[in-house]
């Protein structure tokens, strides 16, 4: 598959949160403020683009049938291994960021640990393997999916900031209207599926 097309698809027409509906909880809960959603999005993108390729490597050189030695198939262990890898990468990323920039760490600090259980990150690792992507495709797919998540979250928070100033019917205010907006956003992103590059 053309790599540019894959990147475009990962950001827009098959956006991880708006068309695959993965990682919805932080998407809804952390999009009240623009700065929060931006830094959370950056963390998601960072962790996603690291874990995707690592998990691809592990699948191909450890888990797949006959990968380690003939007759051994550990493919059924992929869920456990992927989650362990994600948890470890989150820990390591946190330590590295703390060393490099304490101020960035205090900004990302509360979001990073939450990413361990973010289903979008796990989902992307899994899709990359199940769809049979090559390594290069996996790198493109996971990093641009992360960017797609970041984009969707920032856009939603921008819309929510506008909406906070409006008066809404009681039953709709709060999370009610956020779900409706997310639905409309999903439709808007879906419109990109007609675009050919």
């Amino acid at each position: 598959m053309d790599l540019v097309e894959l990147a475009f698809q990962s950001i827009f027409s098959e956006n991880v949160v708006l068309s695959l509906f993965l990682g919805l909880c932080p998407f809804i809960a952390q999009s009240r403020k623009m700065s929060t959603s931006f830094w959370l999005g950056v963390s998601v993108m960072l962790v996603m683009s690291i874990t995707g390729p690592i998990n691809w490597f592990l699948t191909h050189y450890l888990l797949q049938a006959d990968a380690l030695y003939a007759g051994l198939n550990l493919y059924f262990l992929r869920f456990l291994i992927f989650i362990a890898v994600i948890a470890a990468v989150v820990q390591i990323t946190e330590k590295v960021i703390l060393r490099l920039s304490a101020s960035l760490h205090s900004q990302l600090g509360i979001f990073l640990p939450l990413l361990t259980v973010n289903c979008a990150i796990f989902g992307i690792s899994l899709f990359a393997v199940e769809r049979g992507y090559s390594l290069l495709e996996t790198v493109i797919f996971s990093s641009f999916s992360g960017f797609g998540w970041l984009l969707a979250c920032v856009v939603l928070s921008a819309i929510r900031m506008k909406i906070d100033e409006d008066s809404l019917p009681e039953g709709l205010s709060g999370n009610g209207i956020v779900f409706i907006i997310s639905g409309l956003m999903a439709m808007a992103f879906m419109a990109f599926s007609g675009v050919r590059i």
Partner: protein, 366 residues
């Protein structure tokens, strides 16, 4: 099957080792110097500010064990950002001034200074003997400690009781505590009294019919002659030196600082609105009657929150009486002490009747 297990275990161990190595390389423990203004202390990076202060015997108060829920370990850390647990406890003004909770901030290289209130540096830890335990009612005890020499406090201050790990039986049920706990109690005796008194309400679950408070259960199982370790005094709640009329609004064990203030100023013109529950009504009324006997300028009214007839909270009671007979409250100072919920609703109520925010002082019992 065994091969799978071995490979999986090796893999997880490998990840664990990797994390350990990386954290050793990237965030090694380093000495961090903490600047407290007059003195400097040393801590290790990664430790909480509260932990380092306590190790150096600087007795910052606290009663939740560093969970960020009691809000007592306040200090000023100007270079830091407000974390989520603090946002719920510190007011907007406090956050802007740099007030933080010491238990929620950790040392890192380049951490600079922490500003502490003067009283914190003066607070000392000491062992006192229990001279008397008066049972006010089944869930309310008044403890009298021997006042240590040179222990100065102002009426309205509180002290912290250190509760060690223990295993006791109370009401036929075994309660265990595995760690050192700190519990804050307001001093209820007068400034010149030779005893330090605190009022302890047993934290009790009415549905289960069991005592559930780890601090109060321990204190309830003490007997006269036992030694208790206390730290203090702390607090900035106290009587203002103005000529305005004093009006106290208190709930439950929040009566303690009011008792101390009234005992220290024995001819103070003051009124007290007090909210309590039926079971401890008689006990509190006895205490207040005693005060009124000594001080002719003092008057009190009691609202009972779970009485079948008058069932009302103290702020509703005050508001009801005020609406019946509105009076000028521009020269009244309000002192609120009691549980957080009571303080909140009383502040709202005082806003309604038009009290000046600057003449409202409160002590939140959490």
């Amino acid at each position: 099957m065994i091969v799978n297990t071995i490979i999986f275990t090796i893999f997880i161990l490998f990840l664990y080792l990797l994390i350990e190595i990386i954290s050793y390389v990237f965030t090694p423990e380093r000495d961090v110097e903490l600047d407290l203004g007059d003195l400097k202390i040393l801590g290790k990076s990664g430790e909480s500010v509260l932990g380092v202060l306590l190790q150096n015997e600087i007795m910052l108060p606290g009663s939740c064990g560093g969970k960020g829920s009691c809000g007592l370990c306040r200090c000023k850390i100007e270079s830091s950002k407000v974390v989520a647990t603090e946002a719920a406890i510190l007011s907007k003004e406090e956050q802007a001034k740099g007030v933080r909770l010491a238990c929620q901030h950790y040392l890192y290289e380049g951490f600079r200074e922490v500003q502490l209130a003067k009283e914190v540096l003066n607070a000392v830890s000491m062992e006192v003997e229990i001279l008397g335990i008066e049972k006010l009612c089944s869930t309310l005890y008044e403890f009298s400690f021997k006042r240590p020499n040179g222990f100065h406090f102002e009426a309205g201050n509180y002290l912290v009781v250190k509760v060690p790990s223990y295993e006791i039986t109370i009401f036929g049920k075994v309660i265990k505590n595995f760690e050192l706990l700190m519990r804050a109690y307001s001093i209820s005796s007068g400034e010149s009294s030779d005893r330090l008194k605190i009022i302890v309400a047993l934290v009790y679950d009415n549905l289960l019919g069991e005592a559930i408070g780890l601090g109060s259960s321990w204190l309830f199982s003490r007997v006269v002659g036992d030694k208790v370790e206390i730290v203090g005094p702390y607090g900035d709640f106290g009587l203002q030196k103005t000529s305005k009329r004093k009006c106290f609004i208190a709930g439950g064990a929040g009566i303690a600082p009011v008792l101390s203030i009234l005992e220290s100023n024995d001819q103070l013109e003051a009124e007290l609105w007090f909210g309590t529950r039926r079971e401890s009504y008689e006990a509190y009324r006895g205490l207040l009657e005693g005060l009124r006997g000594k001080n002719g300028n003092f008057s009190y009214r009691i609202a009972v929150s779970d009485d079948e007839f008058t069932c009302q909270m103290v702020d509703e009671y005050f508001l009801g009486e005020y609406l019946k007979k509105p009076e000028d409250i521009s020269d009244v100072e309000f002192y609120l002490c009691g549980p957080g919920k009571m303080i909140e609703s009383t502040l709202v109520m005082l806003d309604k009747v038009g009290a000046d925010r600057r003449s409202i002082f409160y002590d939140n019992f959490g």
